[in-house]
């Protein structure tokens, strides 16, 4: 291999970090036996890549090079630990019977990423721990990165991850793809984690910007990875379709001032046609699953918008029908809220408003800003500015994202009959 310049090396290592982290870690975990040791070995392998790829050249298959290096390091660590002390409970017994040659033969290293995903998203772990572990172990994000993405103190994320790792070891949460009988349910748990990562990036719960693209892209990558690992699963196809069909609108969602642009006002020519095409093809496959998953139904709704040439041409009857199906499949106050909004456009704002008002008593929606914002919008459309003002103000109180707050303030300012009090 020819020697490489340091900038080239840095770029190659960064690229391998993004693409290969999950594979390298999952393969190393089998040898290391516990997550901390595996992470340490993988970090060492990346550090050693930075140090040696310059003089020795960038290997043809960086992932294999990193895996072999990390596994060798884990074997060394394991041998040392075995002579020193009885270690803590392990996630699995390391494959001690493997000879060095077998452990280090790059060509037959199995793809263990699916096992790693199921361990990270195990239902015995707290939901926020599943998200943090997935970002850390599958995406290779540092604790600091995760803390920044969720605007949570770093110590909180560190404690969350430590607690989860301890539970994995102490309770022996297995490093295994679940049996066929529980696979369906467990996949749904994994998809929920990935979707949460995506939506948190797509519309950030708080902060200055509407989106956190880094997180949204991680969600996209995870959904794509699942599709590669479970190519025949229609629920996985549904999630990837949903993420692609939603993400296709990313560039049109904010203007040049980084302010929010609603679907109604978006420049549809800025939508990503390639992503829409891919999403629609996946959606067809996802809808063949009987019954279609909630992700497939949500993707179908996104597809109706994506394929509509204009806001006024939107087929609201179709969307309303899809929300009815979603309510059967996944009854929740948030789905009901979205159905009420669709009803408002399919039938009329008065009907939509009546449905929204009926939802006002639901405790799950009490602090949900989109209920107040939707009421405000229908009230404004119905020519009831006084009530719309109260509802917009309520939405403002409940919203922490600056782009959304600016939008709500602008709508408040547009209401007629504003008199200085």
């Amino acid at each position: 291999m020819p020697a490489a310049a340091s900038s080239e090396v840095a770029a190659a290592v960064a690229d391998a970090h993004r693409r290969e982290w999950a594979f390298v870690l999952a393969a190393t975990l089998r040898v290391a036996g516990d997550i901390d040791k595996a992470e340490e070995a993988v970090q060492d392998a990346y550090a050693s890549a930075l140090a040696t790829w310059g003089p020795r050249g960038i290997p043809k298959n960086p992932g294999a090079w990193l895996t072999v290096t990390a596994r060798r390091r884990a074997l060394d660590m394991h041998r040392r630990a075995a002579t020193e002390q009885r270690a803590l409970p392990k996630l699995l017994e390391p494959e001690e019977s493997l000879t060095d040659d077998q452990a280090l033969a790059a060509e037959d290293i199995p793809d263990d990423r699916l096992r790693l995903i199921f361990t990270c998203c195990h239902p015995a772990l707290a939901p926020d721990a599943r998200v943090a572990l997935t970002l850390r172990l599958l995406c290779g994000l540092s604790t600091a990165d995760i803390a920044r993405a969720f605007l949570v103190p770093e110590a909180t994320i560190a404690a969350r991850i430590t607690r989860a790792k301890k539970k994995i070891a102490a309770a022996r949460i297995p490093y295994r793809v679940p049996a066929a009988s529980e696979l369906h349910e467990r996949i749904d748990g994994v998809l929920s984690v990935v979707y949460l990562v995506y939506t948190t990036g797509h519309t950030a719960p708080s902060g200055a910007d509407l989106m956190r693209r880094d997180l949204a892209e991680r969600g996209l990558e995870l959904a794509g990875m699942l599709r590669v690992l479970l190519p025949k699963d229609s629920d996985v196809a549904g999630l990837l379709a949903l993420v692609l069909l939603t993400d296709a609108r990313r560039d049109a969602r904010v203007d040049h001032n980084r302010e929010l642009v609603l679907l109604e006002d978006q420049d549809r020519s800025a939508w990503d046609r390639a992503a829409i095409g891919e999403g629609v093809a996946l959606l067809r496959e996802a809808l063949s699953g009987r019954p279609p998953s909630r992700f497939a139904l949500m993707a179908a709704i996104a597809a109706v918008h994506d394929e509509s040439g204009s806001w006024s041409g939107t087929d609201w009857q179709e969307i309303l029908g899809l929300y009815d199906l979603l309510m059967e499949r996944w009854p929740s106050p948030v789905v009901q809220l979205n159905r009420a909004i669709a009803l408002g456009f399919a039938v009329g704002p008065a009907e939509g408003l009546a449905e929204l008002d009926a939802l006002g008593a639901d405790p799950q929606l009490a602090r949900y800003p989109y209920l107040a914002a939707a009421r405000a919008d229908f009230l404004a459309r119905l020519g009831r500015p006084g009530e719309a003002r109260v509802a917009f103000e309520e939405a403002l109180i409940l919203t922490d994202n600056d782009a959304e707050r600016n939008y709500l303030r602008a709508r408040l300012g547009e209401l007629p009959g504003l008199t200085k009090g």
Binding site: P89, H122, R176
Partner: protein
């Protein structure tokens, strides 16, 4: 193999009634089916018979009537099970015909 303690929780009113009765058919059936994994187990007297002992911090004890934590759900019994991993332990635990539900706790291995 690892050991897990399956704590069986019941509504307090239920445990009060069950005092003195023989093992219910549902439990007998479960215990037969999972005999290979059950190391130990017991049904407890009602929580009203519990006595709690707390260290008072100055070398003594404070002894009080009642369970450690007051709650509508009370510990009604337990099984000590052996399983290869948490998934297997949860499979067994799901079959316990418990009134409210169970809590599964890995047993700490002490050498």
């Amino acid at each position: 193999m690892a050991k897990y303690l399956v704590l069986i929780f019941q509504d307090e009113t239920v445990t009060r009634q069950s005092d003195g009765e023989s093992i219910s058919p549902a439990y007998q059936e479960f215990m037969q089916r999972r005999a290979g994994s059950l190391l130990n187990g017991a049904a407890l007297q009602p929580a009203t018979t519990a006595t709690s002992i707390r260290r008072d911090g100055s070398g003594g004890f404070s002894v009080t009537d009642g369970p450690f934590a007051e709650s509508k759900e009370v510990l009604g019994g337990y099984f000590l099970v052996e399983a290869g991993d948490l998934d297997e332990a949860l499979e067994i635990a799901k079959e316990v015909p418990a009134g409210i539900g169970v809590e599964v706790r890995p047993v700490r291995m002490v050498s």
